[in-house]
Structures are given as C-alpha cells and as structure tokens.
Symmetry: C2
Subunit: 416 residues, 2 copies
C-alpha cells in the first residue's frame, strides 16, 4: 500500500528532484554508475538531475548482490533515503558530499545478467503480427493458456545510449539466401523485469510468492532484424534476428515506487479460458497489472538536421499485457528452472489495440507496406542508419507524484 | 598436426593412465574440482584415475579466465604436462604431491556459462524428427543454408552425476491443457563446445579464425519434456520443455587432444547448396569434422535390480554433423553477437542415419509408438523415474592412443 514514501507533499532538498519528470523523491531507482572522476562502478540512486552514491559495497562490480536481498532490504533503503533526501533532513550535509551530476556520470547495465528471457505477453502485438501471417487465425491456440516466452541472448544487452552496428545475416531472396546487411531493421517497445532472490533448481516459485522475486522494472528495446528472423526462425524460434543488440534503460524502478500505479490486469473477454491454477492468485488478479504509459520516439538524421522534434511512433500502456509479471515468474519456474538475482525478463512488445499504439515498425507500417511520413519529408518503412529510437515510460495517477523510468536510447550505426 | 603429445609410445608414471579408456597421457583435459578435503574449487587435469591439481589461480572460482587464454596458452600447458607426467620425468616427485584420487573429488560445471546456445546440426535427427511431423518434407527449406540454433538456458546446466526432478508443465489434452508432471521425458545426445577468447559486440568472427575461439568439447544431454515442448513451442521455439536441466560431462577435451581424430565433414550430397561464403573455409572443409564415437546407455531400476548391464540406446558418431563447430562460431557471431569465454554451444542431437543411431527416444521409439524392450522385461517409450542415462564419447584411430570424454550421467528423480 502507498506509504509516506509516496506522499505527494514530500519534497527533496535536491532542487532538481522537485517536479522532475522521471526522478522525484517518490521514485528513488537503483542503478550502477561510474562517477565523473572514473573508477570502479558503484551503486547509486537517481534523484532529480543527480545521482546519490550509496555506501553499499559491490563485491563483483554489479548490483547482483543487492538484487538478491529482496523486498525487506529494498523497502528499508527506500524509507531511509526518502527521509534523508527530504527537505529539512539533518542528513543533507552528509549526503550532499555523495551527490554527482547525472549528466557527467556513465550509467551501466546494472547487473550481470545470468539469463535473459523474452516473453510475448502483449496480446495486441501477438494479434497484429499474427494477422500479417494468418489473417483468419492470428493467435495460436496456446496463447491464452501459456505465457509464451523464449530464451534470449544476455551478452548483447547494452545500456541506453550505446549505439550498435546494423547486423548482417542471411536474407531471404527469390533465388536463395544471400548474406548482407539487414534491410528490415526494427525496434520493439518492451517492459523489462529484473529478478530478485530467485529459486533453487527443481523448486518452482508458487504464484502467490512470485511478486516477491521481482526486483524492479526497466524499459527494453528488443531490436529486431525482420528479414534475418523470417528466414531463420523455423523451427526453433528467433536467434540471430535478435541477438545483435538489446537496449535497456539503466535505472531499476522498484515495485515499491510503482505501488500507486497498480491496477487489475485487463479482464479476460468472455470465452477466454481461465488461467490454470498454477497461474491464478487473487492478489495478482486484483493488482498484478500496471498503469504505465509507454512511448517510442524516432529521431532521424533529417529531423535532427532540420531542428525538428522527435516523431512519436508508439503510444501504448503496460496495461495491455495479457499476463502479469508474477504469472511470468511462476510460469518460468514451474518446470523447476532456477531463476537467479540479476536475471532479466522482457515482456515482449506491448502494443496498444489501435494503430497509434503499435509498438514496432513491423506493425505500424504493416510489414513495410505503409511507410511512416515524417515532418522532415522523410519516410520510414524500417530503421535507417543514423536513426535513433527513444523509449519512455511514465506513471501518472491523481493524488500521486508522476514518476518516469528515464530514457532508453539506441542509435543505429552502419553495418561494419 | 599431431606432435609428441600424441606419441602412442609415451606412457605416464601415473600407472592408471596407461590403457585408461578416457584419460591416458595423450588426453589431458581441464576441469574444475574440489579435492577430497574440501575447499575452494580449483583447476585440474585428468590423468588416469587421478586429478592433477594445477597451480593456476582462479580469480572467480571458475575456469573462465583460463578459457579466455586461447590456443597458445593451452598448447604450452599441454606440452609441459605431457612431459612432466611422462615416465622418467624429473617432475614426478613434485607433481605426485598434487595428485588426488578422482573418485574422491567433486567435479563441477567448469565455467560460469554466460550464454548457452543449442544448435540443430545433426541432420539425421532433424530429418527423423521432421518426418514425425511432415513425412513428405522433413527438412525445412532453411536447414541446408543456416546452421539453425536457439538460445538455451544457462542457469539449469548441471554437472554429470547430478540428479534432477521430472519437470511439470502444461500438457496438451483433448479437452485443453492440464498442468502436471511430464509424461514424455526424453534425453538428447549432443556434443558440447566451449568458447574460448570470443569477440567484441559488432565484430563478427571470420570463418578462417573461428576454430581459434573453440576452447574444447564435452558431452551434453539436452533433457527434453516432449509434451511440454509440443504445446508451448509455437511460435517462439523450445522453452520450458528444455530449461529444467541440461547435463554436461565435466572435462574439457581440448582441440589439441582431438587433432588426430579430425576428418573432413561429410560431403554434401549432389544438389545440396554450397555454404554461403561467410561459412566457407578450405581448412575447415578439409578437417572441420570429428570422428568421435558417441553412445548413450540406459540404466533402469529393473536392470539394476537384476544385476543386468546398461542397455545401449544410441550408437552414433560426431561425423554426422551437417555443420562444423567453426561454422557454428562464424554463424553465431555473423550478426555481431559477442561470444565470451565460457559460453557453451550444444550441437543438437547427433543421430546416425539408421535406427540404432537415433539419439533420442522420440526418434528411437517413433514418438513412443514402438517401445524399447529391455533384458529386464521392462519397456520404455520415454524415461521413467529412477532411470539414468549415460553418454560416452570415444576417439579411436589406428596408430594413436584412444581417448575418451569421461561419462555424462544423469538420473531422473520423481516430480516434486
């Protein structure tokens, strides 16, 4: 339940925090950063335009050990920092010595990601993509029973702001495949879910305990090479069409910060099957969803050269997830698979039901057939070299202070 | 080229090494073990029935840093140990103090596996499984162009000898899925490939350099829940049907030890497409294959109770791989995906062309329709609780000493 850390009247002695679109004192996300002077990465908390350096030691230079602590540690840290960063705190003079200007710091992928799993819980995405291939029967028969997911590549996950090369691969051609730079490069707007304590192999996490294993959330851009993917993915699923790069926002937004923005997941339409018992929990059914605005913006070389603002290419919301984060955790471990602190889940593309919410170019341009028209006069079927995609997430609710995730940015470099 | 370390006349002062089926002085594989007295895991080399403890420090308690060293370090270590462990070596008295009886040591998964990828290069397996679903068109159109693979789960990889629980999951039923213990539990006989130095993101490994990034080989049992897999795998591939457990043999057999057993990969039948240039290399085409006998054996509670020997359930050979290990490395990195030291590849099931070489029960029992009959009077369509599968690999060639991989064992515990 919302507590004093969510009090909208609480303001910080860090002036930039008050009214900050992402990091007011009601957010306090954890991250891994290198301060302006360099040195080993350390733990920090975002507050306005600053980063407060924590005193916690990081034995392996990552936040894994902190993610393993679980909710009691996280709640205690949040309560303490909320008080110490509040206006009038006696801790101000002590903490001010550990503040760094965020713009001069380097933010890292916060944890050593042991395993990365990408789900497919955006039902409007699954439907829209399915329609491109199977107009009469877009959703496969398992979709409303199984939180579909697949193992992704952990090594190529990069922090926001890291540019990446356009991948090359086998491209389907009428005369047979040819190897060359991807011609259908796409983005996907997803929610990332950081795993906390986790479970031992052979000991599944019951759905009623699943939420305790979620350490936080981020934005995730599942860059996709549609041509490579289309040719390679039968019968074992996406592989090189995905594993060249996945961008994440560096701040871990805690479940506690998001408490005021919890909602019931969307009601299942009449006729949809009930979840099997191992995926059913009253608390999750009541508040397992998130009201979180999700947006994707495109910056092209043409827009930038003409001084034009970014073009919004998707306007969606995390409420469109068919399965909750807790259901993903319970399902993933239901076969005995062990989840570890620092594992990362992607939600899958979270598209809205209408065209403006389609959260990949594959959907928004109908497979490239209906290009986007930009104010610069440019058109986009897929991403071109120099294009940058910016993801944003914002939680708003009357009576509470708005919080955001910070940006997830990534730019396409030419093929090598 | 074979050198003095392969000399069949070289014998060891460790008596059990001479004539040892797996670990004569010509093998010298690297592993991670805890000695009988306990303590931190350390690096060792198998020699006969003993383990020679190495002096190399392991900063993070794994072999990752040694795998990162690459071929020059590996070759120098091999040459030195081959001399020091040879009969007549002046090093005998010094090294004898660092020998441990292998049977009293604990062997571990040797590296922190950053990412695990499972390929599908056993063409007879792909054909046999494809026939079960598509009798007229068993191989998909991409198979002979693309070394098909998918991302696997690294966390649930376990060392030989670790038992695991039968997984539960969603099982397809005529009236809709039900959650329960897997009823079609299977094994898969695969070759594992350990990655050495690796590449930076965005910098693919050319095929001519790919072999330099292979640190060694092991056996891999890709346990598979066929019922869970069949229901979940569309459209994103295998997930919980695989991620409950994957067993590997603990010794890393070096490329140098296997040099005498190199062969040309199987000639592509007339009409098969030539590999695209990024997968083509003269040295790889001449000697990228391995003549390595691969076997799977089944021990059931009934066989054990009656004192009967294990039943051989597959008799195959690594020569049946359609793509070479170097082609897997070049393909995997071709999109810019970064491979890291300690990453693991599975080959995919390596079946032979005939029934006795079918290296999964799915194939050997034709999807459970034709049960195996055992000397104990038992039948097996799929694995039952208490069953144990043992994988073995043996390299033999006239004029050279036979070497083996050591066993990869795993036993099925009842569902939790």
């Amino acid at each position: 339940m919302p507590d004093a850390t969510h009090d909208p009247a609480r303001r910080s002695w860090v002036p930039s925090a008050n009214g900050h679109p992402d990091f007011p004192i009601q957010n306090l996300p954890l991250g891994l950063f290198t301060p302006p002077g360099g040195g080993a990465p350390r733990a920090g908390v975002a507050i306005g335009d600053a980063i407060l350096e924590l005193e916690e030691a990081l034995p392996d230079g990552t936040l894994n050990a902190l993610l393993a602590q679980g909710a009691p540690w996280r709640r205690a840290l949040r309560a303490r920092l909320s008080e110490e960063l509040a206006e009038g705190s006696a801790a101000q003079s002590r903490l001010a010595l550990r503040l760094h200007p965020a713009a001069a710091c380097t933010l890292h992928v916060p944890a050593r990601i042991g395993d990365y799993t990408d789900f497919y819980v955006g039902i409007h995405h699954a439907t829209a993509v399915g329609k491109l291939f199977r107009p009469d029967n877009p959703l496969l028969p398992n979709y409303k029973h199984v939180p579909i997911g697949y193992h992704g590549r952990a090594s190529s996950i990069i922090a926001s702001g890291t540019a990446f090369r356009r991948p090359a691969g086998q491209l389907p051609r009428p005369e047979g495949p040819a190897f060359g730079p991807c011609e259908r490069l796409d983005y996907e707007l997803e929610l990332g879910i950081w795993i906390g304590p986790g479970n031992a192999q052979g000991a599944p996490i019951p759905i009623r305990e699943a939420a305790q294993h979620i350490a936080g959330f981020c934005l995730l851009n599942d860059w996709s090479a549609r041509d490579i993917q289309a040719w390679e993915y039968q019968p074992l699923g996406p592989f090189l069409g995905k594993s060249f790069a996945t961008s994440i926002s560096p701040w871990i937004i805690s479940p506690e910060a998001l408490e005021p923005f919890r909602i019931a997941p969307p009601a299942r339409p009449a006729g949809d099957p009930a979840p099997l018992p191992y995926l059913r929990d009253a608390a999750d059914a009541a508040a397992g969803g998130l009201d979180l605005a999700l947006e994707a913006w495109l910056v092209t070389p043409g827009l930038a050269a003409q001084g034009l603002p970014p073009h919004r290419i998707a306007d969606s919301n995390a409420r469109h997830m068919y399965w909750t984060a807790a259901q993903m955790v319970a399902h993933h471990s239901s076969n005995g698979c062990n989840l570890n602190p620092g594992d990362l889940f992607g939600s899958g593309t979270i598209s809205g039901p209408e065209r403006d919410g389609y959260a990949s170019l594959l959907e928004a341009t109908q497979g490239g057939r209906e290009p986007l028209k930009l104010a610069s006069g440019e058109e986009r079927r897929f991403l071109e070299d120099g294009d940058e995609v910016i993801l944003r997430a914002t939680a708003r609710r009357a009576g509470f202070v708005t919080i955001g995730f910070g940006e997830c940015r990534g730019r396409v470099l030419p093929a090598g």
